[in-house]
Amino acid sequence: MKQSIIKYLIITLVIFLTGACTKFLDIKPKGVDVVSTIDQYNGLFNNALLVSFGDYTIQPGGVTPGDNADLSIFLSDETYTTSPYNSSLKASSINGYHWLPNVYLPDQDAPQWNAFYTQNYTYNVIANGVMNASDGTELQKKQLLAEARANRAYLHFWLVNYFGKPYNASSASTDPGVPIITKPDASGSAGPRVSVQAVYNFVISELSAAITDLPDSSLSRLRLAKPAATFMLGQVYFFMGKYDSALVELNTTRALIQNSPIPMDLYDYNQVLDQWTPPVPNFPPTFPIAPNNQEAICQRQTTVGLYRGIVFLNPNYSLYDSTDLRLKLFSKTDFGGQAVYPSYSRAAPYQVNYGPSVPNLYLMLAECKARTGDISGATADVVTLRAHRMPATDAAVSIGDADSLVRFIVAERYREYALTGFNWFDVRRLWNDQLFAGKNYVHTDSAGTYILTTDRLVLKIPPKVLSYNPGMTDNP
């Protein structure tokens, strides 16, 4: 009996060992992968989802697009909408237009929060992993690390400008900002909101570090290289009111884009707008798509073109001279030419670049120069932009007083970015600016009149986010 038991054991063992083979299980299914090579880390940047400020969900089977982070269109003061045009708007858009404290319902996703933090995850995967990539040179790794850090910093910059108070040097260190997330941990906890100053410090140090390692140019304007990073840093200083520092960075950008292998310059609307306009009446001009749009230094866009016939230019705002070609981007009728709107509605382009762009470079350069007393420099820069937007004779500017010139340049910003939501950030930036003291921001519609208050410069933390982070402080 004992002998036979031993026999059984031996036979059993042999059978088990022939079957056991860990290598057998060590195969990678096709179609997906884990990120390991330098090409894969690089490829993570080549994702069109990272170009738009929009929320999305990826699950096996496809991408579910969420909402655009376009609330700023409704917050911005030049916007006008009323019944019945606003009937197809989401409640959150109308709440934003009414400058209500609570924009979102407790179960709603807030794209202003989610879009930025969602993209932040990808950059965190790169930033935390690329130096350990299985191949690639040290230089390649450092470049990709720098690109991830710069992108990540820029996302935090937009977040703090939605959810933190406008930068104010005297209170920034106590004003609550947003959580800084630098590790990819999807099921982890977010951590507390840090101060506005801490966020700005983070953004500046990350961008500064990145600039050192980034290449001077990229072959794609959807990717971030040194001209974009210096632009971003300049934009951050500009938002902080540090016009000197901004000027340094923006001048670097200006120099770098001269040598870009892909053209980066303004379009002359006098030349191109007719070519872009389709033969179909009532259809808006066709802009070059983002990767080919030479005004983009680095495209980080939001979609604004969906609101034709829904949101309009405040009828009280007369921004444009009749010769301003930018007017052609607006329409007072629907596509059939039948329905006539109460005011101009934006019809083109479909997407607007919130990221580094040539027009904004000129506008910021002009304002920095005007703010620092370089009136001729400022005038030259703003005229350069205007000359690309209207006949040369109408483009000229002759303002001797720096303050007036600043006000003119800000007005030019409104003309350039009307109904794109971009101006909302000027509203915030200039809220405490003495040059604009006394300005009232008013929205009206068939239901009433709404006046912007200091508290409402800041969005409340989305209730869904608070439900995950019960200890997080909310804005008033």
């Binding site: 036979i11 195969i27 884990v34 990120v35 894969q40 993570l44 407790p106 999807a186 995950y468």
Partner: protein
């Protein structure tokens, strides 16, 4: 079934005894009840015999041929018997036997359908005499059975020994004592020791079939039911052979198995065993064919229902846990037939045809044309929808469409035509009805037919079973499927100790579709839209696609005709096919290593390949419209304007399977022990690719090149945009996928029986897999179970009166459910991201899944208690099982804090509980010579609760109302409703809040106002089958029932927007004038979708409790009348049995709802929202079109034929 019975005859009829058996002194073979029962079908039990001095053997032959009763006897005892002289007509078998044995020293006994002849004992047995018995035990093919238990009851207790390698044994016993012989998988046999027993050969009969369910198989082993402790149910092949509901044997199990719920409702889980164990992972049972897992679709393709020997359903942890991480949802084990050692080839034919007809359009309750035109006039609102808006492009770039009924009304409104002309035109529309044209031109009566021929035969060293099968399916949508199957199973017995079985299955499935691109839903088709004129000329319905002005402009600019003539379209898409070839090779090797040790190997290779193509000719509307949508004014064609779209797809599925297992079987005094240990390796690879070529010419097989990059980046402002103002190529020209899953497993099982009364079973398994990114070290998570049973009826104290057998069972164990491959793990998983916009800067990737280091299997623990009772010598048997299941670590997408980058992720998020009871009864109510009545009844009750679901964000009222049925704290498949408060005086819906206030807007709804309205999965379910037999006629009927669940009623859902398709007549009941709120609950129509959306919440009506009804129903699944032709008629035609049957299926007996809805095929959770949007119309969908009821299945007829040849 004839075949197996026949095998019995041949072995016994003395003239046909195969040579090896002739040398045996005594041959006793016990056949199972069912085999004999079947053989006796259609044969009289009265005897007519006349003869003088006839040897008994001859008499037996005559009786056998007249009654079907077989005789068991010792060849020896007949040697001394006298010939008999009898002359009787139509006497009963019993009387006849009395007569012929009256004067002999033989006695007889009737057992089931056998006559056992033996010596009268007092003649030979003298008391207190011991005899040494040398015996040999074999199976019915003559193969020795080693390790069989020979148990002798003596005064001192039980003595038991086991047979040696050659099946031999030696035992000394007192004359007149009883010896029991038993062997796993065989029917036990007992005999009384007589003098003639000294040299006995015993052929045990394999447990093949029968209502007594004497063995159970898990796919890894077969053990005696008596020794099992788990919850098993067994369905015989015969019971499902006449089910014409489907050619998939799994579908045929409905109502036959306690605990198996079959739900044909839209979106429901079709098969659930004992409730639901998962929210997001797999909920379906595991299907196993001859020991190897198989997918449901492959069961359709590879399993001929006529070849199924039996199906077992494993329900509790003891039964399933040997299957490890795939076992949580229960297991359905299919065992296929094999050949018998019967010396000749046996041929059978089975065929049937089912006429399923056309769906019943009246059931849809759609408006007729007259009602429709009247309604169109009533609600026409040119102020809300001005003509110049509906004929222009909408802000969302929806293309303009104006329907003929609207055109007349707009013309009248705009003063283009007079009232008289308008009336005349509307009247002429009203007089049209396209239903008969729809049925004639776009549909066909559904039909299912099947022909199957099987052949089997063999001897002791080789046997085979083969079948050929052809199935033809015609569907209502004019598609057709042909399926051809070849199955062949062979068993080689090289030596008594080495056996090999090889099964080959091959199938080819070809199908063809009837395609009309962009065709609207046929049930909501505009009723006046005629397809052809009186002369049979096809008519254009271009207005369905584009407003004529817009169409003309597009045609002018592109130079391409855009007419839409539905009846011409199918000719342009007739080049399409979908062919699937499947093959499976399964081999099993059994080697007896030592007396009690056996090696078993099971090896399988399965491969399937699918090829499909569809060609949209250049005349097809789809192609023409597509070309125009990529054409820029000029025209500049960005897609070739010659040739059509050629879409091809190919897929392969390759799987292999290796199992090596050792079985240890031993028995000592009072103890029996079975141990098995094994390893298993599996690999499954699925590959597919699809290609789409534009501008392809089918005849010359060539295509015109085009710039794909431009098309993918988008054409801006083409003549007809397909996405806002641009056109983008949505489907890539090539796509491919490949998924490979691998498993490695170790498993073991132990069964110990003590004194044939106490059983202890245990099972353990570990699985490892390559499920992407999972941490291998976390996979050593053993899955195990233990079970015990007590055969009370074997206890000495048990008095066998009414109850003859009684067994109690108790089991506990854990089974698993693994995550889907690639669903998450400790690494971030990336996928390629096509990047047209990233030329020169590398490939593109995006992160598909974030890392989750904590992911683990779902595990389900089950506690099961059961009792099996046999009453009146098993005339009535019943089993009751109660269970409690807890599933932990539910896998699923749980919301995450978006701050960390993901608003949801795949994680372990909660737990579910299931409790239930199951009852199965088999009762032979009447067993008579000419008449018998058998009843089988199944009943199951399941109650479940989602205990936790990882919900971090508090649920909102709307979220709860529209939930997918899984809400923390409620049963799975929950349905929620609102307390209806009637219409207000404006005709808008109102509901009561929990505080009793009337609410009109969804924004005022709070969570407490949403009420639990029940579940949409029946908690009570089962079936009952009654079979009556009178002589050659058999009548059986099966009733199935699903009770205690709820559904949303079918209501009108059209309350706003333009009238773009046919709608329900319920629309006419809507509120029209103040005061109507006292008469109706149907809200008013508001033309403007904006006003509709902002002034009221129409969902209040659809979700109100008045529109939630009981979905319970009882259906007669089938009534079958079978007639067996008399043997005397058919025997001349070389046939042995011919049966014809007629069956009527699917008769509704009772439904709880009052609308006449057939809940079976309904969408219980969503009701009217289930019909699918009218996506065919490419124009304005302002005002969601109403939806139709899902088609129900009408009662239908089936006719069938079974023939078995001699």
């Amino acid at each position: 079934m004839f075949k197996s019975a026949h095998c019995g005859f041949r072995l016994f009829a003395s003239r046909n005894i195969p040579k090896p058996l002739l040398v045996l002194k005594l041959t006793i073979i016990l056949l199972t009840v069912a085999m004999l029962h079947v053989s006796a079908k259609g044969i009289s039990q009265s005897v007519t015999f006349s003869g003088r001095d006839v040897p008994l053997e001859k008499v037996f032959d005559a009786v056998k041929s007249q009654t079907g009763y077989v005789f068991f006897y010792d060849v020896e005892i007949l040697k001394n018997s006298k010939p008999v002289t009898v002359d009787v007509k139509n006497v009963s078998l019993g009387d006849f036997l009395e007569l012929i044995f009256k004067d002999s020293d033989l006695k007889y006994s009737l057992q089931n359908h056998a006559v056992v002849v033996s010596l009268r004992e007092h003649m030979t047995v003298s008391a207190d005499e011991d005899i040494t018995i040398t015996g040999r035990i074999s199976d019915d093919d003559g193969n020795p059975l080693a390790g069989a238990t020979i148990a002798l009851k003596t005064e001192g207790g039980m003595v038991s020994i086991i047979s040696d390698e050659t099946g031999k044994f030696k035992i000394t016993a007192r004359l007149g004592s009883t010896i029991n012989v038993s062997y796993v998988g065989f029917k036990p046999f007992s005999f009384t020791v007589g003098k003639k027993s000294a040299n006995i050969s015993i052929a045990l009969s394999r447990i093949v079939s029968g209502m007594n369910e004497v063995s159970v198989t898990t796919g890894y082993q077969t053990i005696a039911k008596e020794r099992s402790t788990g919850a098993f149910s067994r369905v015989e092949g015969e019971e499902i052979i006449q089910k014409s509901v489907s050619m998939n044997v799994i579908d045929r199990l409905e109502g036959l198995v306690p605990g198996l719920a079959v739900n044909n409702g839209q979106g429901a889980d079709k098969f659930l065993i004992r409730g639901v164990n998962s929210v997001n992972a797999n909920r379906a049972p595991l299907y196993v064919l001859d020991g190897v897992p198989i997918s449901y679709d492959d069961v359709s393709r590879l399993v001929n229902p006529n070849d199924v020997e039996s199906i077992q359903v494993l329900r509790d942890a003891m039964a399933t846990s040997i299957w490890g991480s795939q076992a949580a949802n229960g297991i359905i084990v299919i065992t296929s037939k094999k050949g018998k050692a019967q010396g000749h080839i046996k041929v059978q034919y089975n065929g049937f045809i089912s006429f399923k007809g056309l769906p019943d359009f009246n059931y849809q309750k759609m408006m007729n044309t007259k009602q429709f035109i009247a309604t169109a006039q009533e609600i026409f609102d040119p102020a809300t929808f001005p003509y110049n808006t509906v004929t222009g492009i909408s802000p969302n770039y929806e293309l303009p469409v104006v329907f003929p009924h609207e055109q007349i009304l707009y013309d009248l409104n705009g003063g283009v035509i007079s009232q008289a002309v308008a009336n005349q035109r509307l009247d002429s529309l009203s007089s049209l009805n396209n239903r008969s044209q729809v049925e004639e031109n776009l549909m066909q009566p559904a039909m299912l037919s099947n022909n199957s021929v099987s052949f089997s035969g063999g001897n002791q060293v080789y046997n085979f079973y083969g079948s050929l099968n052809y199935t033809n399916t015609k569907n209502n949508d004019r598609s057709a499927i042909n399926n051809y199957m070849v199955d062949f199973k062979q068993v080689f017995s090289f030596t008594p100790n080495i056996k090999l079985d090889i099964t080959t299955n091959l199938s080819q499935q070809n199908s063809k579709q009837f395609i009309i691109p962009d065709l609207p839903n046929l049930n909501t088709y505009l009723p006046y839209a005629m397809f052809s004129d009186g002369k049979g000329n096809a008519l254009s319905q271009s207005w369905l696609q584009l407003y004529s002005g817009y169409q003309q402009n597009a045609e002018q600019q592109s130079g391409i005709n855009l007419d839409y003539v539905p009846l011409k379209e199918s000719a342009y898409t007739s080049n399409n096919a979908n062919n699937t070839l499947s093959a499976r090779l399964n081999a099993g090797l059994t080697i007896k290593l030592l007396r009690s040790l056996t090696f078993e190997g099971r090896y399988q290779y399965q491969t399937g390949s699918n090829n499909n193509y569809t060609y949209y000719d250049q005349h097809s509307y789809l192609t023409r419209r597509e070309v125009v949508s990529f054409t820029e004014p000029g025209p500049v064609y960005n897609l070739p304007n010659q040739g059509g779209d050629y879409l091809t797809g190919a897929g392969t599925n390759t799987a292999w399977y290796v199992r090596n297992q050792v079985n240890y079987n031993d028995a000592w005094k009072n103890s029996e022990l079975t141990i098995l240990l094994g390893t298993e390796v599996r690999d499954n690879t699925v590959k597919s690719n699809s290609k789409l070529i534009h501008g392809y010419d089918y005849q010359t097989m060539s295509y015109t090149a085009y710039n794909e990059l431009t098309l993918q980046q988008g054409i801006y402002d083409p003549i007809i945009p397909n996405y806002y103002s641009s056109s983008t190529l949505s489907s890539p020209s090539f796509s491919a996928s490949e998924v490979e899953t691998r498993f490695f497993s170790l498993y073991g099982n132990l069964a110990y029986a003590f004194k044939r009364k106490y059983n202890l079973n245990g099972s353990i398994r570990m699985d490892q897999s390559n499920l992407f990114g999972t941490n291998i070290s976390q996979q050593y998570k053993p899955i195990w179970s233990v079970g015990s049973s007590w055969l009370i009826s074997n206890e000495p104290f048990f008095k066998k009166n009414l109850v003859n057998s009684l067994k109690l069972r108790l089991t506990y164990g854990i089974a698993g459910n693994s995550p889907n491959p690639g669903s998450g793990g400790p690494y971030d998983i990336i996928q390629p991201q096509p990047g047209f916009f990233y030329q020169n800067v590398g490939l593109g990737y995006s992160i598909l899944l974030p890392s989750n280091k904590k992911l683990t299997w779902e595990s389900t623990s089950t506690l099961n208690a059961g009792v099996d009772v046999g009453i009146l010598e098993n005339r009535v048997t019943f089993s009751v099982d109660v269970y409690s299941k807890k599933t932990d670590n539910l896998l699923g997408y749980s919301p995450f804090d978006p701050t960390n980058g993901w608003s949801s992720g795949y994680t372990n998020l909660g737990n579910i509980e299931n409790k239930g009871i199951e009852l199965a009864v088999v009762s032979q109510n009447i067993v008579n010579r000419n008449f018998s009545w058998t009843t089988r009844l199944n009943f199951a009750y399941n109650h479940n609760k989602v205990v936790k679901l990882g919900e971090v964000v508090p649920l909102t009222a709307n979220g709860k109302l529209s939930s997918t049925g899984f809400v923390q704290g409620y049963s799975a498949y929950s349905l929620f409703d609102l307390q209806w408060a009637g219409l207000d005086n404006q005709g808008n819906p109102q509901v009561y809040s929990s505080k009793g206030q009337k609410i009109k807007m969804a924004s005022d709804l709070s969570l407490d106002d949403v009420r639990y309205a029940g579940t949409t999965q029946p908690p009570y379910y089962g079936g009952m089958t009654n079979t009556f037999r009178y002589k050659a006629i058999e009548l059986s009927f099966q009733v199935i029932y699903n009770l205690g669940y709820q559904m949303r009623s079918y209501v009108n859902t059209y309350f706003s927007g333009r009238l773009t398709n046919n709608i329900s007549t319920y629309f006419n009941d809507r509120w029209k004038n103040p005061g109507d709120e006292n008469k109706t609950n149907v809200p008013k129509y508001i033309s403007s979708p904006e006003i509709d959306a902002t002034t009221r919440s129409i969902g209040f009506y659809e979700n109100a409790n008045i529109n939630v009804e009981s979905a319970s129903y009882i259906k007669m699944r089938d009534i079958t009348l079978t007639y067996s032709l008399p043997v005397s008629w058919i025997s001349k035609l070389s046939m042995e049995g011919v049966q014809v049957y007629a069956q009527v299926n699917n008769i509704m007996l009772w439904t709880a709802n009052h609308q006449g809805i057939d809940p079976e095929y309904y969408n219980a959770p969503n009701g009217p929202a289930s019909g699918g949007a009218n996506s065919g119309v490419g124009g304005k969908l302002i005002g969601a079109p109403t939806t139709a009821l899902p088609d129900k299945m009408k009662p239908f007829w089936t006719f069938g034929l079974h023939v078995s040849f001699k």
